[in-house]
Amino acid sequence: MTHEQEERWHDDFEPVEGNAAVKQKSTRTGALIALGVSVVTLVAAALAPGAPLIQQASAKPPAPMAFCHAYPDAKACNTGFADCAACHTTPPARNAFGMQVAERLAPGLPRPLSDEDFLKYLPGALKAVEDLDADTDGYSNIVEIMAGTQTADANSIPKTLACATEDATRAAGAQWNVCSYDAAYAFRKVHMDFCGSSPTRADMDGFRKISDQNTRLTRIREALSKCLDSAYWLGPNGAVWNIANAKIRPAHAVKSGENPGPVPLGDYDDDYNLFTWANSDDNDVRDVLLAQYFVKRTSPVKLEQISEEELAKRPRGTRQPVPVEKRAGMISTRWFGAVNTMFTSIPRTTAAQAYRSYLGFDIAKMEGLHPVIQEPMDYDAKGVAAPACAVCHATLDPLTYPFTRYNGISGGYSYDADRLKGYVRVDGARVADAPAGGMILGRPVADLREWASVAANSDPFAIKVTGDYWKLLIGREPDVNDQAEFSRLWRGLKSPTTYNYRVEKMLHDLVLTDAYGRP
């Protein structure tokens, strides 16, 4: 193990003291004990009366980290965590690979294994199944692990994307060069993706007459620059707008402002405009989480920031009541509170939606779990400390606390440091004890602004932003063969000397990738 890997191992297991959100120094053993709380609850859930068919299987929250500790260079471990699907179908039920590992995991020891034993024996069990082929697709488990394909899915196999020499020669002279980056194909595709229509025949014929590859790439970049300002890309209901749909979740029935619905609560146009602004021109995409301003459309493709004076003069139904210093981009808007927080004291749906939309982690799928010791505290007496619930709520509840000071429909979408006192009658006295600080990605944060800052500067944020565009433009999630190009793009998005969080700069390189330009 290298020193760097050792450091990461310790960082991954550094426990945090519950709702006080105080990070502690720790040894690996101490960390394991800390994590054991949530693991024990999960195992207990598996053994609970009525729990069907899971008595012999238990998912281990430390397992994704332990897997990547064993295989730090595996492609599935880009972010330090393997997906639950590496060993499970729906956790805790195991897939074929997980069952092979389980059979060789400390045989003879009584079940359930303690976390210490689990982590002690897991590397040996993984080693023991490396040369087996769980999905019988002809590729051994270790070959698939290192290639990044699924060990338990026979349809997921390592592929070589290179053409044979003879095919490459034939393809180079064909209408479509399917063996390498085809500039003419990419030129047309850029028009289609960013302008919403094909180039003219004259443009296409003119492009085909260019023989110099650098000139062709320059033409592609020029076409992209032009189309990035098109209404198809930037306008209402345009491509960027539609990326935001799942994050904003508009509902016309409760829209206020222009074109209002029958019960006008909030105007999601603010949210779409801010999203489009942060994703265009030379603007910083982190502002989707960090902006303390709002944006208006002055034409279908022109956006500009709104002054606070203008914002204050808005009609009541479209105001943004959260004060400037408490704003956190799109996760503190009137609309976000209206459709997510609504009337709840501990707005878990709000936090989960933010986590899913901007970091790509769906807690309902057990993604992005960072369980915190002594959590969930269940301040609002909703029963989330029950073993079956605690598996996710040990992460979700501390993730949620920073949202508890922001009102939804009740309270008028404003910020209120004493907001929870108003819920004592409904949720009990303890609800007022819920802290304003919380945890995200294993880091303590004092409030929502800090929550947003940690999120916006994280790897998962850059991966999610890049992934949204990758899916739109390539047509599917990045797969194992895309990892080199995809990784270069999201790391570049974060790098101050590469794209520095400018989406349009990243897109100029995305359209030059093989994934984009090879038919």
Partner: protein, 218 residues
Amino acid sequence: MKSTFTLGLAAAAALAAACATEPEPAPLQFAAEAPAPVASVDPRVKFKDGERYLRDLSANLNIPREEICKELSRYDCMTDAFRIVLGGVEAPNLLVNEPIEDAALTSPIAVDRLALHVCTNRVRMDKETPAEAVLFKAGAFGRDGRAKGPELAWLNSTADAIYGSVLLRSPSEREVQNLAAYYAQVAEGRAANNPDVAADWVTLSCFAVASSLEAVFY
């Protein structure tokens, strides 16, 4: 990429099947198959979606976007009729935030309907205003209109116009031959120099190309 004629053949077959009272048509004599192209090692073609499909046809066939395809002469084919199955979204009312992952069973039917709408429209407009014709141009049966069948030059130039307008490229020799051969089937049971036959051939040829994989995907 598969030949554009694959779907055209299917369209012709479907059309023939629909005319159950007509005698079985003679088999078409197509040009010899070209060598199979190199297959993509990682194909990533994407569905154009209804809006981009109609925008392309609107620009290339010179029909205003808002007029190019209307169901019941009233509802826009994409916006109001087939939006979701053609890859569109409608978040505020239908809560469809993202395009459907896989094409619906009705997606190909909707694409065919758009293509037929557009091609029928274009040929109708060409007949109404011959001076501004885009696809169905005069001269099918010679200068005096007395030829017994379509002139080869007219067939070739029409095929070229269809491919150029819909796919933004010239047809290959084989593609021209195949379209020309298709004329005989369209004329089956009717006089080959009937102007309606010529118009039907242009409409169906346009439909065959506009519903091809090359036109629908990119």
